[in-house]
Amino acid sequence: MVAEKTSKQLFSVTLRVWRQAGPAAPGQFTDYPAANVNPDMSFLELLDVVNDGLILKGEEPIAFAHDCREGICGTCSCTINGKPHGPGRGVATCQVYMRSFRDGDVIVVEPFQARPFPVVRDLITDRSAFDRIMQAGGFITVRTGSAPEANDIPVPKEDADLAMDAAACIGCGACVAACKNASAMLFVAAKVSQLGLFPQGQPERDKRVLAMVGTMDAQGFGNCTNQFECSAACPKTISHDFIARMNRDYLKASFRRAFKPAAAGTAGGAG
């Protein structure tokens, strides 16, 4: 299944990679030259090749996060030449192809940088803060088996489509890495908007946005100051409009909570 000899023009680059042995260890950049680069190769495939070379030389290979290699699982997470997920719009690191670079390029590769995402090793960061935000409220409470017939709940197509735009989030954290405030507002807004657009999501709407935003703050993420770097870096190009939508929800929920204390807060029935 190996392709025949290629007609493509091969070239050389230098990878300047952040190496860090552990969360507390100091880190530094190290240069790795790479020759015979095929333009059809993915950036992560080049890292594979470089790593195999390092292993044979008895050096530690570069640790990097990856899995599906088709831009949907959200595992890969490098900052390439200063941009989370590298050059190109609407793609994850695993979808960066070497044809985006030229012969002789020095490619700077770093982990996502944000205080709530501590470095685990080399290019791998700990993004479990996102899971904790989800655990605080990123759901509609529905016990398995208790759901009504699906078509009993009509949803206008426009709402469903908009919810799908938000739901496309892959939880990679590029929005946080791109933001000078390390804000997770795009990530949180995407989930809050998706669930808030459905009739099913109304009973917990207030509770959800308050809990998710509260946890986001507690995890140490910063605030949004309307630079929109998040949307620009997002591999799914999720719109920052959802942040405005979340802010509205948050404000309304805060007011409702302030003026309707106690009973309304129980069982998520405030909506």
Binding site: S42, D67, C68, G138
Partner: protein, 640 residues
Amino acid sequence: MAKLESKVPSGPLADKWRRHKAEIKLVNPANKRKYDIIVVGAGLAGASAAATLAELGYKVKSFVFHDSPRRAHSIAAQGGINAAKNYQNDGDSVHRLFYDTIKGGDYRSREANVHRLAEVSVNIIDQCVAQGVPFAREYGGLLANRSFGGAQVSRTFYARGQTGQQLLLGAYSALSRMVGAGGVELHTNSEMLDLVVVDGHAKGIIVRDLITGEIQRHAADAVILATGGYGNVFNLSTYARGSNATAIWRAYKRGACLANPCYTQIHPTCIPVSGDYQSKLTLMSESLRNDGRIWAPKRKEDARKDPNSIPEADRDYYLERLYPSFGNLAPRDVSSRAAMRMCQEGRGVGESGLGVYLDFADAIKRLGEAAVRERYGNLFDIYHEITAENAYRQPMRIFPAVHYTMGGLWVDYNLMSNIPGLFVLGEANFSDHGANRLGASALMQGLADGYFVIPYTISDYLAGQKPGSRPSTDGAAFQQAEDNVRAMTRRLLGNKGGEPVSHFHKRLGRIMWEHCGMARTRAGLEEALRIIPALREEFWASVRVPGSGDTLNQSLEQAGRVADFIELGELLCRDALTREESCGGHFREEYQYPDGECKRDDEHFAHVAAWEYQGEGRAPLRNIEPLNYEFTKMSVRSYK
């Protein structure tokens, strides 16, 4: 010899599941919290099971090797999920979905399991909609459907080209809720490396923390594996790079039977290979076949020409020609083999000659580019990223690739393996798809198993286990299993050979693809069974795994997985050799009709082959579970 009792309930097919649910032993609600259940894997099957079992009150420990449960490869499924809702009024029913699945599986699955799957399919859609899964909708606000992969009704629900993602995130939401509520203890970056069997029952696992390297023991009253398929035995596949068979393989080595490993699915519409460095193959959703037309040039000389310059008369729309009633929607195995034949005839396209065209020119003419973009835009974008070609202007190049494995650990009707207390869900088990899986049925099965089957059937086992009888992790079985894991880690790290792990994975993949891929022969399989053991020896003699075991070490993780794949590859070839017939994804060149279609041998092979490990260096035992077709007539699977 393992006892393989399918435990299929008696009575009419349509009543079996209802009666079984009514008769199954229950665990009293106050006692549920006294039972610990380990769930390994958090894809559709694992996450839905963990969430639902926790909702019921069991104490669940969820283990994933990813950094988050949202990463599982279910997320990459594009096309959709089947359900017998009959919203389209086009004649669908539970029975028809059942029948299509049985026929699609080439009469090699268990009737009762498949009927149950079709029955609960409708509940899955209700559940997911209630969770806020953004399925596609009509303007009236009701759910939309499309027809998909070999079905003559529109029963597939979808969320653009990201159905798997949306269903997985729904299950992940449910799981997250239960983690937040304290019902699930979540262990991320944790890889299961052994199963612990105490007095014949599965009572725990050994886990390596992938960040710290710590080896941990975890005990439970029951263990559920939902760890996916083993397609990466071929190295190049549409699976995620991390997808592996280690959990099911180590369970196999503890006595769980592995059934029908030779049933592997090759998906017809993937982006062709571009070079030796390639790490994975990317699927182009089968939904594309609803509007795209597949063709190859009629003449070899045209194979390298610009496709747009080849006139209509010189194109061979071979699926439409060979299978007029199904045309471009012919099932996956049939379409894949047809593409392979085109390439063998020298009519394959692209730089490697391993490709055929999937053409949207007619669809664009008929519907307009905007409508095509609306339906498939994200897929066209993916194609463009990878190939730098614009599929709105020139046809896509596609080629088959390994995509799914129908085989897996043997389970009974309760989804319990032959080791009591060990349950297996989703792609990791063997039960529902027979020799070939239909499109949009994997998501259905994963969620059926997790949301609607295991929550009932596990109580049948647990009711027989005294609450609080769970063994301590200090016991001899835990010690032995931990020693086993530590010994393997030491052996891998102690090796200072001259080749990286990837070298062996690539070589194994080439052997498997060449000798046990789309078409298999006795001679080829015998050759594979000769060279795979040699590869295994070479692996252990000359693999090089850098670093240490007490820290994050991706080479070590990969080495363990590839070591298992080499052994599993051998078993897969052995299964393919002994199954002297063609059925579904298992095509033996010796057994075909003159037109190249699968020739089943129902007299000798209408059974499940469940392989039982006999120890290092000894041939595994081939156990048989006969397949009794009480309600459907086995017929030749024709799509003409």
